[in-house]
């Protein structure tokens, strides 16, 4: 049995001046256009996408979003107009602190060549100096012997 609620008429927007037909029209209108939650998103967190059932996907044209518990994937499922379920999976693009490889710069390549040549020249000059020094040392020793 239904309990008496003194506020029932206030909750239902009761207006004693309305006749039965108008009241019926008002009730029908409120049933036909139910208030929709705006900004809400259907979906849930899942361990595996296999656990999602067909009933989890609403036929509202938007679908539902399913997030894997380990945040490794997000899947959006929605009904197509043809009565089949469409699935789109999103995987994260994790940004790592990688040093960017230097682009092939022709100036830098040329500069490297120049540096290599300079090093070669430097080596050859220092090699000649060592020989020269060794020669002069040997001359000194022979002079002392004499």
């Amino acid at each position: 049995m239904q309990q008496y609620n003194p506020y029932w008429n206030q909750m239902m927007g009761y207006n004693p001046m309305m006749n039965a037909q108008q009241r019926l029209a008002q009730m029908e209108q409120s049933q036909m256009f139910p208030t929709q939650m705006s900004g809400s998103l259907n979906g849930r967190v899942v361990d595996s996408f296999d656990s999602i059932s067909v009933n989890d996907v609403p036929m509202d044209g938007i679908g539902a979003v399913f997030l894997k518990r380990d945040n490794s994937e997000i899947q959006v499922r929605s009904w197509g107009n043809d009565g089949l379920i469409r699935m789109t999976t999103y995987k994260p693009d994790i940004a790592e602190n990688k040093a960017e490889a230097p682009a092939d710069n022709p100036i830098m390549t040329r500069l490297d060549e120049v540096v290599t040549r300079l090093e070669k020249i430097e080596k050859s000059i220092s090699g000649k100096r060592v020989i020269k020094n060794a020669k002069s040392n040997a001359d000194d020793v022979s002079a002392n012997d004499e």
């Binding site: 036909m32 036929m59 509202d60 044209g61 009904w79 107009n81 043809d82 009565g83 089949l84 379920i85």
Partner: protein, 68 residues
């Protein structure tokens, strides 16, 4: 005065018209255009998505009404 078949049809059409679902709109369009094949394919797709054997269920439905 509507016969029961017409009443059912009208109720179904009213429901489809009041729905904001694109699937319902698609079915409504197919009904209005008399696209029987499209409606059947839609039913088959829905059944496939829900893991239902469409032909077996259709046979059961027909048997209930003494149809082959």
């Amino acid at each position: 005065m509507l016969n029961p078949m017409q009443m059912m049809y009208q109720q179904m059409m009213n429901k489809l018209k009041s729905s904001s679902s694109p699937q319902a709109n698609n079915v409504l369009n197919m009904i209005q255009n008399g696209d029987a094949k499209g409606i059947e394919q839609f039913g088959r797709n829905i059944a496939q998505s829900r893991g239902i054997d469409f032909d077996a269920e259709y046979q059961k439905f027909c048997k209930q009404f003494g149809m082959k």
